[in-house]
């Protein structure tokens, strides 16, 4: 859609979609993804840890059942065969896999018999604006399978924590790993929000100093990013709320408190983004009043100049008339000794009076 660099601000709000009528569960490479996927496998329990990059899908067979927790992280969404293989190995539903390969998904959670599935959007605020990385997560009793599009590994901090042997993450089950990932994604909203807030502050400072068109366009850009943000944060909050509330075999009671914490953060992120929307619309109000003020100022200058010089020009015009001086009543002023000085006196008096009047009206 935006491949050819055209102006397409609306595209951030639309998900990719397959042609209507396509049978459900049809797997195709995700839009814009190419090449093979990178697969990272982490197998661990409290005592043991094995981290490696897997080259062949077959290497993932027969992992389960050794008592360890296996986390498969797939980077790149173009290798349909791999996705299908994972689907068979871990018993993932075809409809869910179709969602994995469709970018721009609304965050959602789905419960299957033995797995939980959810899609989230990991937010990044890069120099060129807000970016989203779609993260799909499957959780079973002893495995977690995650997918993201090509690019930097957004889950690297989690793997680092496992490797560094933080007690809790290694000792608790797959569900706690799942929580750690959700926590990472939810908290990623805060730096993005902070950057957006800084941007809003800059725009506000700019508007208060000297409002110009760039400010409106920048503001409109921020508003669009806030729309995208809301489209991500609302359903993300719902997903967290479901995990915090609903019971599921995979989630022991003691882990529930962590999901509640996660939910609180998701609520807070959403609230901040809603308040930023109000701030942005308040900025537009300020901007419009600034424009009105400037128009008023411009018009005052014009009016002052006109009010001062129009009567004077008329007066000069009068003494430039050619009435026949032979007639005694015709323009006798022209013959007076102090006529010209008098003219200037009247003119300067007029100017001063006008300016004094304008000052009293607070136009100056």
């Amino acid at each position: 859609m935006t491949e050819n660099g055209e102006w397409a601000p609306s595209s951030g709000l639309l998900k990719d979609y397959q042609d209507p009528g396509t049978p459900p569960g049809t797997l195709r490479p995700a839009d814009g993804e190419t090449g093979p996927a990178r697969v990272q496998l982490v197998s661990y329990d409290a005592a043991d840890l094995d981290v490696r990059e897997v080259d062949e899908a077959a290497a993932l067979d027969g992992l389960r059942g050794d008592g360890r927790i296996h986390w498969v992280h797939v980077i790149g969404l173009a290798d349909v065969a791999l996705v299908e293989h994972l689907g068979k190995t871990f018993g993932l539903h075809p409809l869910a896999l179709e969602d994995v390969l469709t970018l721009g998904q609304r965050p959602k959670a789905e419960e299957f018999d033995e797995t939980l599935f959810c899609i989230l959007q990991h937010l990044l605020y890069r120099r060129e604006g807000l970016d989203r990385v779609q993260l799909s997560i499957f959780v079973g009793t002893d495995f977690v399978v995650t997918f993201q599009p090509r690019g930097d590994d957004v889950l690297a901090p989690i793997r680092d924590r496992i490797v560094k042997g933080r007690a809790r993450l290694r000792q608790k089950g797959a569900c706690y790993l799942f929580y750690a990932i959700l926590d990472l994604v939810v908290d990623a909203a805060f730096p993005a929000l902070e950057s957006l807030g800084d941007h809003l502050d800059e725009i506000e400072a700019g508007i208060l100093e000297s409002p110009d068109r760039n400010d409106v366009e920048a503001l409109q850009g921020v508003r669009r990013e806030l729309l995208v943000l809301r489209q991500v944060l609302w359903p993300q909050r719902e997903v967290m709320g479901r995990f915090a509330r609903e019971e599921h075999d995979l989630m022991p009671q003691e882990v529930r408190i962590y999901f509640r914490d996660c939910y609180d953060h998701a609520v807070q992120a959403l609230e901040v983004s809603e308040n930023f929307r109000e701030m942005a619309s308040g900025l537009l109000d300020i901007y419009l009043t600034s424009l009105s003020h400037r128009l008023n100022d411009v018009m005052k200058v014009l009016t002052i100049i006109s009010t001062v010089f129009m009567p004077l020009s008329f007066l000069a015009g009068v003494y430039g008339m050619n009435f026949d001086r032979g007639q005694p009543l015709n323009m006798p002023e022209l013959g007076w000794r102090y006529g010209y000085l008098g003219f200037w006196g009247v003119s300067i008096l007029g100017i001063v009076t006008m300016l004094w009047l304008f000052r009293r009206k607070e136009w100056l």
Copy 2:
């Protein structure tokens, strides 16, 4: 209502209606529909397939009970006798048939003892704007009956999939066919939304470059289409939500997951349309600030010109006065050797000073 081509933007929001007081269940040809209907019959099970066009309503009698699933698709809503015949054959409720023959219906779902009934609006974004095709669907244990107004067969992709023998569609029951139709209708919103988004992007580009009245009218057109869209997508989401949540004998548990997927898509389509509404109203804001900016610019030009030339004109007027040169104090400047040059000097100095002042005020 819009038959005679008059300006009638509100008509897209109103359904057709019968005169108040008409007894319920009264069948009449739908507004604007004429001529006989085309009836397409698909009878299939996993092994067997029979696709044909039916000319006489009587050919539909006695179909049921052979273990196959029968899908009757009627194109054209003017043949009341046919509709009544189908009603008797498949046991369809008269109130539902009245709805089938009334265009502009709000999407809705209704449960009868042995059939499910729902009305949807299939969205199409044609060159001349957003269009809706009303689709009415009845589902029973072994049959699906669908109705649409005259025009292209919107369900052709489904029939193609049955003919091509996609395993799942042929092996599962009437309910899965029903799902396939809902999925088609829900997903049809995305290309329509994409076209609307492109349209919004064009308008935004136009406004940022040079705002003119056509942009506002185009924007107003898009807003009206978004209103129509919302009128379709909100209840469509409700309908999908009911199928995803509520239990019904016709819907086995295993098919429920597909309806949930359908519901997710309906939610996403609705969300995108709501965000487009916000984008559209943001565009209006930008447009208004653009107008204000232009007014400011125009006024600045006027003020600069006036401020520069009014004092100069006054000065020229002064030296055009006819004060009597006989009096020594009257306009001695006129007799000076460098008087005229001095006048130009003062004038040019004045212009330069003014322009410098305006530049400092950033009016230039």
Copy 3:
């Protein structure tokens, strides 16, 4: 309130009310109603039908219990004695009767032990604008009592259907007659909405062609009518929703489907009116941008004229100065052979340049 023909647009939003502190159940003639009431009695079952106008309230005694359904329709709300007599005969609650005699009621439904009571507003869009006829309905096992203020009988179409012997209405019980009345009232909103929509379309066409103040006032009128409409349609939808959902001895299960249909229509009417509200506020936006455009246009004309003629006037003023031609440097241009032609040349060149500049700036 509006009796003396004063400007009172707010009165459409207020109900009549009795003085605070009046004991509940106090019956008084309704505001603005006078004279005796007309009472129409229809007694029917599937086989038998009796339609007559009743002159004396006593004629209504002893009707019940003959197995037929009796429908008493009272036109005129000033005959308190009649209302009280009906209350005793059919066991109607005094609070409900007080509501019957108070015009401008919010639509509502109330369940008593053996009767259902509801108040609706029948909408009419007459030439002079939107009008409401308050309809009060009591339903018992074998009777329906309805009240409306003086004027045309709004329930005439129902009586006609009974007289013409439409099978269903004659064969089913009082509840079906009740449904037929609700259906009539709900559907009466659609012609009213259509008229309002036509009105909006006219205003829009007017604004797009040449916006003037009448358009705003017409728009404001429509917005006020939409407020009134909403005040009627929201609670009417609630009332229909209650009948469609809640169980009541008077409503057999098989009739419930009809009330659901009624509810769907009520929802649709409400939705259309809400969308009209959005259209109306969109029209105001268009109107305001039109005004801005026209101001811009006016200012451009002024600026072009000023920018072209101010410098030229200055130039003409210069050559009207009276510098002493005796001095060689003073205004030698005046003595040149082609001085005057040169002046015109410069002037015309200046005009052409200016116009060319304005055209480039797209001001022309």
Copy 4:
């Protein structure tokens, strides 16, 4: 807060409050109240009635238990000892008594073991604007205790009805008296709303005729009163809703219907006030378009004058130039016989053409 007559429009929205950290249940005279309270006692049953003014709190001891219903109405909120005495006599909760003595309370209802407590705001629309009288009500099996600040007795109509022996009020229990008071308070909103509506109508008429600044300030005043109204009517509706829905020992089933009626009125009052808010904001829109229209009109006058006279002034300036008539090409027009008449001819032709053009553009 507003004692010293300062500009304090926000104070109507704030309740009085005690210093944060004050122990709950601390009783102090209400803000702005002084002097002793008046206490009116009404003791009645169906047969017997005793109405008197009580001077000493002790006279209220030992009233209960004689089978009659006792209604104590206290006017004036400065006599803390009296309030405490009543609290002990009737078993009223200290927190509730604290609320009684704090003006500006949000309407609320509270259930204690043997008493119901509620606070309402009785609305009055006086000449100087909307006023609220805080009414606190305690109900027990055989007593009602009510409090209001100093001023006219707002419950006088109820006492009159008891004295006049209206059957129902005298025969039914304390709960019916409670209902009568609620009904009075809820219905008091309607005359206030009617006055506000009349005020809105006046403003609208004023704006349509000739909009000026007073209209905006009046409109802003009405909007603030509508805010205050909403702050009262929303929670009042909630309170009525609770009484209409919830079961309580003090409320027999047969009285419930009366509370439902009360609730309906509260809903209607709230709805009307919300619609008035919309009307008020619609008026602001009209006002702004009026201002724009007038600016347009002013600018048109200016532009017409400038467009007509600037070219003419230029022409007059041209023939005021002093080019040397000795040169044959210099201003030969000045020597023509009909030169001057020709000048006027051109001028008048120019004026007429311009006016014709402006008329065609509909600027005149």
Copy 5:
């Protein structure tokens, strides 16, 4: 974030946060906090009271179990060791402790097995604007632990009440102390709201007298503070609502009524802040209409001046023309005896007529 005094209005809306991916329960000194914490211990029962400042965390060990209630109040959030020690001593959850050390938290409540935990924001309206002090509270059967950042002790009034031996606070359990703290925090919103209201009133008075840019900026400041307020008051209301509704072992039934009172106050504070938001946006409307009025006034002055002097200047220009007086038809007026006087007569007549016209149009 705002340490270096930069313009950062958005920062008030964001909470501090740890880097995404930080393990949950990681304790760090709160942002901007340094130095050791002050710890105040109050141990009391109805008979006995012990108030002291604790220097070593170890002094808190072994307190529990002596039948008294212990309240530990920590001022300063940089001493991680102390916080951890308290966590172990009183059994506080690590996630909750992490929240304690993170400033800018959304108010929330959390139930653990044997403790209740909640975070509130104590509002203060200082000279430089609205300020928040984050208060974290843990309650157990016999203890209360509270935390606040460095600064004035916001809970001093509570300690004073305990010391002064107010019966109720000393006799009731930890839960009542908890309530007293909540009550203090909730009521602290009212003085803050009153200050904000005063500020709004000042701005309104300023705008009505003479609107200038400072008013808009002040208004924008108030709106931002109202946003912050809402971000605090909404969840605070939820927290109070939970305590008022939900049952918990720590809360005896008799204390519940106090929490309901607290909830009512929280609701009222929120409502007032929402109404202030409406008032603020109403002020912006007034401001904009004021600007429009002033522009209108300025333009009228300009138009009046132009309309009066442009025709007169033209006339003066006419009689300054140099048509050859030798031709009899050329400007005979110049030779008339009363020509000049006539010119002035016409001029003055013109001025008077114009002014009379403008007065009639109510432009003067």
